[in-house]
């Protein structure tokens, strides 16, 4: 369990993390989302004590990270993939970390195999591709059998097969009762893995919600209905929570009723429908709408805005 309370980090007069409070619970995958420069990495660095908070606190399993006798057993992390010496082999890198916690050589071999690095374990890390570096980072995160796994953009540089591997791995780690936290700036990718979402922008908490709720709210675009009997259907659907709008003579956009309900009502009254489409707002659009005001590096033309978010 990670608990951040009013966590704040300032560099000079620039506030990177601003009174951020959230909890990462065991048995769940928590997606930590925000545009570039939102303060995700700084927050993660504070969790494992690389950076000291300017204000507030963050605890890992009830204590600050450095106070644990075997910190890697509490939380395994992958921050930047380049947290290795390029001249050392993958095996020697992991072994050096293992020594600090009295972890056996057998376990090192095990995580190497788990991460699919067996064939390159004796190679210098400097020759690794970005994807192999990510796998090594994940291997070192899992080395000490941690209760919490925290990964900063773990699928960066991975091929589709690797992305699937990470997704399944994180799911199984959460199912084993571990707390999993992963950061990303890609909503759609995160929604596939995460249960819970913590969304930040400019260091502030924008949303602390479940993926289901976020998807439900994002999907609140109503249902598009096409029928020749638009006026009749409109009166049949009327109700206290139902809002019906019309953009064309034979078209309705209904919110407050599901497509299923609308179809049932239409069938009951013998109204022929030509179209019945839930107007899902894409997760990415919903995420961008949420973080729009908090984007640190705004890009100018409309079609590149997607990349920036």
């Amino acid at each position: 369990m990670i608990e951040a309370r009013e966590l704040t980090k300032r560099y000079g007069d620039k506030t990177v993390v601003d009174h951020l409070s959230f909890t990462v619970k065991p048995g769940e995958v928590t997606g930590f989302l925000g545009p570039n420069g939102a303060g995700k990495s700084t927050t993660m660095r504070m969790i494992i004590g690389l950076d000291a908070p300017t204000g507030g606190s963050v605890t890992v399993n009830g204590r600050s990270y450095a106070k644990h006798p075997a910190p890697l057993h509490e939380i395994g992390s992958l921050l930047e993939a380049k947290s290795v010496h390029p001249g050392r082999t993958a095996f020697n890198h992991l072994m050096a970390l293992a020594h600090t916690h009295g972890i056996s050589r057998g376990r090192v071999d095990e995580v190497i195999e788990l991460a699919g690095l067996t064939s390159v374990a004796g190679k210098r890390v400097g020759a690794f591709s970005l994807g192999m570096g990510q796998r090594l980072g994940i291997a070192s995160a899992l080395l000490a059998d941690p209760a919490i796994v925290m990964l900063d953009e773990p699928v960066n540089g991975l091929d589709p097969e690797g992305v699937l591997w990470v997704r399944n791995l994180l799911r199984s780690l959460a199912d084993e009762g571990r707390a999993v936290m992963l950061s990303s700036h890609l909503m759609s990718e995160t929604a596939l893995i995460a249960d819970h979402l913590v969304i930040i922008g400019r260091g502030r908490l924008l949303a602390d919600t479940t993926v289901d709720d976020f998807v439900r709210e994002a999907g609140g675009g109503g249902v598009k209905v096409s029928t020749t009997e638009a006026v009749r259907l409109r009166s049949l659907l009327a109700g206290p929570d139902v809002v019906v709008s019309s953009s064309a003579a034979e078209e309705l956009v209904v919110s407050g009723r599901s497509a299923r309900e609308i179809g049932a009502v239409a069938a009951e009254h013998g109204i022929a429908l030509y179209e019945l489409t839930p107007q899902a707002v894409s997760l990415e659009e919903a995420f961008m709408a949420l973080t729009h005001d908090a984007v640190e590096y705004q890009s100018a033309p409309a079609d590149t805005a997607r990349k920036a978010a």
Partner: protein, 278 residues
Amino acid sequence: MTTDTLSAAPVRTTVRKVTALRVLRSEWAKFWSLRSSWITLGVSLLLLVALGAIASATYSPDVVADGGPPGGPGSGTQDAVSLALLGVTFASLAVGVLGVLLSAGEYSTGMIRSTLTAVPRRLPVLWSKAAVIGPVALVLSTVGALAAFQLGTLGLDGEKIALSLSDDGVLRSLAGAGVYLGLVAVFGVALGVLLRSSAGAIAVLVGVLLILPGLASLLPDSLYDNINPYFPSNAGSAVYALHESSDALSPGAGLAVFAGWVALTLAGAAYRLVRSDA
């Protein structure tokens, strides 16, 4: 690449708490698992042995007569030990760079994040790096100094200044060179952690060991004479000088002064390591 292996811990792993000894073991493994460690160590040993042996082999008493009063105190002094230890200055740079690479190298590569995540208390990392490289440099340099001297005695065979290991102060001088180089390696580690940049730390190392004494000669004579012996490299060379010269410290005092400089730098490194963000 496997996708079917999903469980992170098929077998429960034994994880023990972080202790000073385990950190030391980790730093030991880190040191020897880099090719650069072996190369730099080899270079410093080579400089130490080869320069000493060459200086002794090419020694000619006439040249010395031109250079200064033979046998007298001061910089003109040449004896079998000072010839054999001619390479110490060069070896000290190599050994110092080795120390810098061990510590600042972690900052330039990003390895420091992994290191400090495993050991968030941080200070044991600094002590362990010093405790690995100090003794390694000390032992190898002492061996190197002995080898340089022994090779040198072949070159000096029959010369007036020839000495043997059993002569007064010879062993102390050679061991002193080892101790000095061991401390220089620790100095390099401390500079690396203090400055967090290989280039910066190496520049300071060269400046302190080679350039500072020369620059100081610009000072007024009275001041210069008083502080000159206390400069790190001058105090250090007193540690391995066979004959105590009038303008230098005694070996014991030199050792204390140089160790003091190293301790001061280590303290600064420790402060920065603990106080600033990694």
